[in-house]
């Protein structure tokens, strides 16, 4: 019956204050670590490599003092969808996926359904990768404030300003987007309540229905869109009134500093990622 509150329960992206090793690392370090690990994950499709990667990601989570339960709870809304997708892949992707290091072998076949060791591997490895990426994303967003993230991105992109890449502007776009996520989420909740109050089919049956008709979505999307546009108009005026003219010539209040811990962390992860990439075809299974 708390249908309308589920929008506030988005755990991904929610910063949780703390003093762990992960919290104390520079955002650029964490972004680099995430990029390196994502690279390693992308190119590793064997069981063993993914088990190793998963354990390493779990290690990161431990170093961040964020509760595992909390991270996994963020998956709940999507769980149904994920399971359905996994089952579909298992049943119908037999031909599409070539298993690691062995030949494709049919386990079961009937009509359209074709389960092979390939599709089994696909499902298992996909699940492992999903968890790995979930933990990595949490590591980044739960331990880093949005402003740190924005500054990290801005600093990492600043060398490219020489070739015309607008680092500050992009970082500001990210900041403003993140700033307005909770505002728009709250706005959506209000709109849903207002429409439900005048008879819209929302939350009437005690559970938010996942499949909405176009009509019902219009009732929510149009007002929300208009609201977002209005806010954008107001924000532009406010920014102009405060002399915003783009990134050129700007200074910044907060400075980021890399310490020994940062270099150490990046070095360790770099070695690990290189190893995983180099050995990606040489794992036994």
């Amino acid at each position: 019956m708390e249908d309308f509150e589920f929008l506030r329960n988005i755990t991904i992206g929610q910063y949780l204050p703390g003093n762990s090793l992960a919290h104390r690392l520079d955002p650029r370090t964490k972004i680099t670590v995430m990029l390196l690990m994502t690279l390693a994950i992308t190119f590793n499709i064997s069981y063993l490599s993914n088990i190793i990667l998963l354990l390493v990601c779990l290690l990161f989570v431990l170093l961040s003092s964020i509760s595992l339960k909390y991270i996994l709870s963020g998956v709940k809304p999507a769980l149904g969808f994920i399971i359905v997708l996994a089952i579909l892949q298992l049943l119908f992707y037999g031909d599409a996926f070539v298993p690691y290091n062995t030949a494709s072998r049919t386990i079961f076949r009937w009509g359209w359904i074709h389960i092979t060791n390939g599709s089994v591997q696909l499902v298992i490895v996909s699940s492992l990768r999903f968890l790995e990426l979930l933990f990595l994303t949490s590591l980044l967003t739960n331990t880093t404030t949005t402003s740190e993230l924005a500054h990290g991105i801005e600093d990492m992109l600043s060398p490219f300003s020489k070739i015309g890449l607008p680092g500050h502007e992009l970082s500001l776009v990210v900041t403003i987007a993140l700033r307005f996520v909770p505002i728009l989420a709250e706005q959506l909740e209000i709109i849903m309540k207002a429409q439900a109050s005048r008879g819209a089919d929302l939350g009437a049956k005690g559970k938010l229905q996942l499949i909405q008709t176009t009509r019902q979505v219009v009732v929510l999307v149009v007002p929300l869109f208009i609201d977002a546009l209005r806010r954008a108009e107001d924000l532009i005026l406010a920014m102009e009134a405060r002399c915003y003219v783009g990134g050129r010539g700007r200074t910044r209040l907060s400075r980021l500093h890399l310490t020994g811990k940062d270099y150490g962390a990046m070095a360790v992860v770099l070695v690990f990622a290189v190893f995983m990439l180099a050995y990606r075809a040489r794992f036994p299974f």
Binding site: N9, S197, G203, P223
Partner: protein, 289 residues
């Protein structure tokens, strides 16, 4: 005051948002209230007192959790089988900045949304829209085919309120619906609601942090603070306690303040004065005794 059964009854109501998450917030800590048919009741309190949370129970947007109970028109709102749609037709809720709910291209269509959802025949929908528009002061012929988003802010607000009135509710809850409106617009809106209350028997529940809104409109007031009802009584009774109200972040009309000051300085005056006219009489009396 009437002796009939209350149409809305609230007992020991508690509510916590986002329970069992790190962002948990307790909004209500044992609220008790009663609303009778045909009354005009005010719920005042500063921001965060829990007023909106309470009234959202009256139309089933929020359901009560043990031990609290909310009974609306005899229905126990903790029962998952309550026909919420039927309740929402009887108990209309207008939110703060109601114009934010507008979504149809044409004004008439948006106001017709509620009646359409009730499955009413075309002619009746049209009649209801006309009626609702007249109630808020938007001429039917003039506005029904206008583009919704080409209206002024005040007109959009009226259209949104008409959208709720088109359901022909028996109870109208206005949750800070005069926020951001200029004095002329506010007077207009309040006098129309007052008219509906007096002449159509509409039960009105008026939620606001502004005392001035209440004075002419409501007979009884609940004052809320920190998730509880901290004061309750007739409008005059409540207004006669400015010190207490100040504690709860609320003020009284200037004239009431004047009376209190005079009394504090030893004058025999009626401190339950609410309007300029009443104050005028009181002061005339003491200057000519």
């Amino acid at each position: 005051m009437n002796n009939r059964e209350p149409i809305i009854q609230v007992n020991d109501l508690h509510h916590t948002y986002l329970r069992e998450t790190p962002l948990e917030v307790t909004a209500l800590r044992g609220v008790n209230m009663e609303i009778h048919a045909g009354e005009a009741v005010g719920i005042i309190g500063r921001t965060g007192a829990g007023k909106s949370t309470v009234v959202q129970h009256f139309n089933g947007l929020i359901r009560p959790r043990q031990p609290g109970r909310v009974i609306v028109y005899g229905h126990d709102m903790s029962d998952p089988n309550v026909d919420v749609r039927a309740i929402r037709q009887k108990v209309g809720l207008v939110f703060q900045y109601p114009e934010q709910q507008l979504f149809e291209r044409l004004v008439g269509d948006d106001i017709a949304f509620g009646p359409r959802k009730l499955g009413l025949p075309f002619e009746e929908i049209r009649e209801r829209v006309r009626e609702a528009m007249e109630m808020v002061g938007l001429g039917f012929e003039e506005f029904k085919d206008r583009f919704t988003f080409s209206l002024s802010g005040g007109e959009m607000r009226k259209a949104a309120i008409a959208g709720v009135l088109a359901l022909r509710p028996q109870v109208l809850i206005l949750d800070e619906s005069t926020s951001g409106v200029d004095p002329r617009g506010r007077k207009d809106l309040l006098s129309r609601i007052d008219y509906l209350h007096r002449h159509h028997g509409l039960t009105v529940i008026f939620v606001s942090p502004n005392m001035e809104d209440m004075a002419g409109l409501v007979e009884r007031i609940y004052v809320m603070d920190g998730g509880r009802t901290v004061m309750s009584g007739s409008t005059r009774e409540i207004f006669s306690q400015p010190e207490k109200l100040a504690e709860y972040g609320l003020g009284v009309p200037q004239v009431t303040e004047v009376m209190h000051e005079l009394k504090a300085r030893g004058e025999e005056v009626d401190t339950t004065v609410l309007t300029v006219a009443e104050a005028e009489e009181e002061i005339w009396k003491i200057l000519n005794s």
